[in-house]
């Protein structure tokens, strides 16, 4: 189904929220208000927002370590994200998770600290959905570097073999840490690897929110209707650093500039303006609303207390638990 305007505006708002929030968090990390070293995704917001866009609340999303696009996309709020990053008692995990964002009741599933350990888990979530007949789809979003991880092939194999409702979504942002991806990835494209396991694939312009959304929607509906897994590769570009503190310098300035011209937020806005479904006034109002929401969330996180150290003994084991 073509993306309709109301939905497009919602996705646009989410992309703006993601970028604004990421910039703010980056400042907070630099200012040592937030203890982790963040990974941000300026320029690639359309991927996470577009991929999570067509999902049901109860669909499973296994997201990435980079930025907030799929987390905001799936429905987490800036306050939920900020309180986790701050490690405050008001966070969903009471300070335990940090950058490993999770919100089980809207299907935001574990982001393991070890890249690629989610491949098997995503298979399991999709298998579980199939066994329970719940119609839930699982989406596993991962970077092109992470596609090199051990369980990637086996996950494709299992998804194919058992015809699971599982979408492999590769966010190819062309960098793996401090090196161009072709330094450690043998092929230009990741997607054709799916064919080796009998899994269908598609390569999509990751800087076009409409295409990302529509391709994902097709794959998700196909999977929901028993059509089995699919791999989508989104071509995009990471314009910012790998992590806060990254010395930089390994991305050619012209390359960054060229991709800045394809910025997904600008493209989306310009198209909406050209189509007459968006106005400068709406834009102003949106920017302000997003800024206000984030300001309020930062304030909330700042003012929230740190967790009580005595809580570390809670929930070591499920059901009452054991002593350490």
């Amino acid at each position: 189904m073509p993306l309709e305007n109301g939905k497009l505006k919602e996705l646009y708002r989410k992309m703006v929220t993601v970028r604004t929030l990421e910039q703010r968090v980056e400042q907070l990390v630099t200012a040592a208000r937030i203890p982790c070293s963040g990974h941000f995704g300026t320029g690639q917001e359309a991927v996470g927002v577009g991929v999570s866009g067509p999902l049901r609340t109860d669909d499973y999303l296994f997201g990435t370590h980079r930025g907030f696009a799929e987390y905001i996309g799936k429905g987490m709020t800036p306050a939920e994200i900020l309180t986790e990053y701050y490690g405050k008692a008001t966070s969903l995990s009471r300070g335990r998770l940090g950058q490993h964002l999770l919100k089980v009741d809207i299907g935001v599933m574990p982001l393991p600290s070890s890249l690629g350990s989610e491949f098997g888990m995503a298979v399991g979530a999709a298998l579980s959905s199939k066994l329970r007949g719940s119609g839930q789809v699982a989406v596993n979003l991962f970077g092109e570097g992470t596609a090199g991880q051990a369980d990637f092939g086996p996950a494709l194999e299992m998804a194919s073999l058992w015809s699971l409702p599982l979408i492999f979504a590769c966010n190819n942002n062309q960098y793996v840490e401090l090196a161009h991806y072709r330094n450690v990835v043998a092929t230009e494209d990741i997607a054709p690897r799916a064919a080796g396991y009998g899994v269908a694939y598609e390569i999509v312009d990751g800087n076009d929110i409409t295409r990302v959304y529509e391709a994902t929607e097709r794959a998700v509906e196909r999977a929901r209707n028993g059509g089995g897994p699919m791999l989508l590769e989104f071509k995009t570009y990471r314009r910012g650093s790998h992590y806060t503190g990254d010395p930089g310098g390994y991305q050619p300035a012209e390359e960054i500039a060229a991709w800045a011209k394809k910025d997904p937020i600008d493209r989306c806005r310009e198209r909406m303006l050209a189509d007459g479904v968006w106005s400068e006034a709406e834009e102003q109002a949106l920017r302000q609303a997003v800024q206000d929401e984030i300001d309020a969330a930062v304030q909330f996180a700042e003012e929230s207390p740190y967790p009580d150290p005595a809580t570390v003994y809670e929930h070591i084991y499920a059901q009452g638990g054991m002593s350490a």
């Binding site: 089980v104 579980s128 051990a150 299992m158 073999l161 809670e314 499920a318 059901q319």
Partner: protein, 327 residues
């Protein structure tokens, strides 16, 4: 009470059957579980179908990962890892993920899953098909570790493991698989964390793990003929550990020996001996004796393998040492 005797394999299979009938969220996955290489899952596919008895590709890491994903989303998988040694292939998932998400999600996620894994030395299986690695799961947080030594314990512990909301490793020593023992027809459970006194005695407390329980019992017979009465305790789970039962025995004997087939260096015996140091120092008339395999790979030739792991005779000597009757 029924006097029925069945094999360890049959006992495990019954546990599967009963739990799969009781709870449709329970399913089994692993390599060749439909046929059942060691028999514990054989025939289940006839009753429960291919949807609940799933043959997996040969990839331990992704299989345990899939079990974890299913466990976190409302199912209760039992994943079979054909040889205990291969658990290291899935160590990342088991130790870094499965045992940790309940805690770091502050209780939002649970991982009710079991890893069923035949293991141990049986003479001639070679270095990577013979190890007892249960002690490797004491260090990582959030896991439970079951080490049944009889058909009765195996059935009762597996049923509890399947119902537990935490990841449980369930080790089945391959020398025990075909042994028979009494198992009642009626349903029963054995709680995880409850040791069993396999033999009473007043002179020495001997804690033995998995297949070494039998060696310990034979050593106790031998020692009894020499006038030494050994109390043999099977902890049945290494985590949680039933310290109370061990301590109760120690308060009578003041002497502790611990034996396992896994390696001594960094093994369960180290943790138990250190626990005795921490908590029971004043009840030790002699240093705790710990026995385990030498810190070497397990060689293939049965004569060499036997020389690496504790024997009945080694246990007899350790008991005599703790009594000060030998150097």
């Amino acid at each position: 009470m029924s006097q029925r005797k069945i094999t360890f394999i049959q006992a495990v299979r019954e546990a599967f059957q009963e739990e799969m009938r009781r709870d449709e969220r329970v399913f089994v996955l692993g390599q060749d579980v439909q046929a059942g290489i060691f028999g514990t899952t054989s025939g289940l596919v006839r009753e429960f179908g291919q949807e609940r008895v799933i043959n997996t590709p040969i990839c331990e890491s992704a299989t345990v990962g899939a079990a974890l994903g299913a466990a976190m989303t409302g199912m209760r998988p039992v994943v079979q890892i054909m040889f205990g040694d291969f658990n290291y292939m899935a160590m990342e998932i088991t130790a870094n993920q499965a045992g940790q998400w309940h805690y770091i999600s502050d209780g939002a996620l649970r991982a009710p899953m079991v890893i069923e894994t035949p293991s141990g030395a049986r003479g001639g299986a070679g270095y990577g098909h013979s190890q007892s690695l249960e002690a490797a799961f004491i260090l990582p947080p959030g896991l439970k570790v079951a080490v049944p030594s009889t058909p009765y314990d195996a059935k009762g512990l597996l049923k509890s493991a399947i119902r537990d909301d935490n990841p449980v490793l369930f080790f089945e020593h391959r020398r025990l698989l075909t042994q028979r023992g009494p198992v009642p027809e009626e349903e029963y459970l054995i709680p995880l964390g409850q040791a069993d006194v396999k033999r009473e005695g007043r002179d020495v407390t001997l804690v033995a793990v998995s297949a070494t329980v039998q060696k310990a019992l034979r050593a106790a017979e031998e020692l009894s003929r020499r006038g030494v009465e050994v109390e043999v305790i099977d902890p049945r789970t290494l985590v949680p550990l039933d310290k109370e039962t061990i301590f109760r025995s120690l308060q009578k004997t003041y002497r502790l020996v611990v034996v396992e087939e896994g390696r001594r260096r960094g093994g369960f015996g180290a943790e138990l001996s250190a626990t005795a140091m921490d908590e029971w120092f004043d009840y030790l008339d002699a240093p705790v004796q710990r026995l385990g395999a030498i810190s070497a790979p397990l060689p293939y030739s049965p004569v060499l393998e036997a020389a690496c792991i504790p024997s009945e005779e080694d246990i007899v000597h350790a008991v005599l040492r703790v009594l000060g009757e030998e150097e």
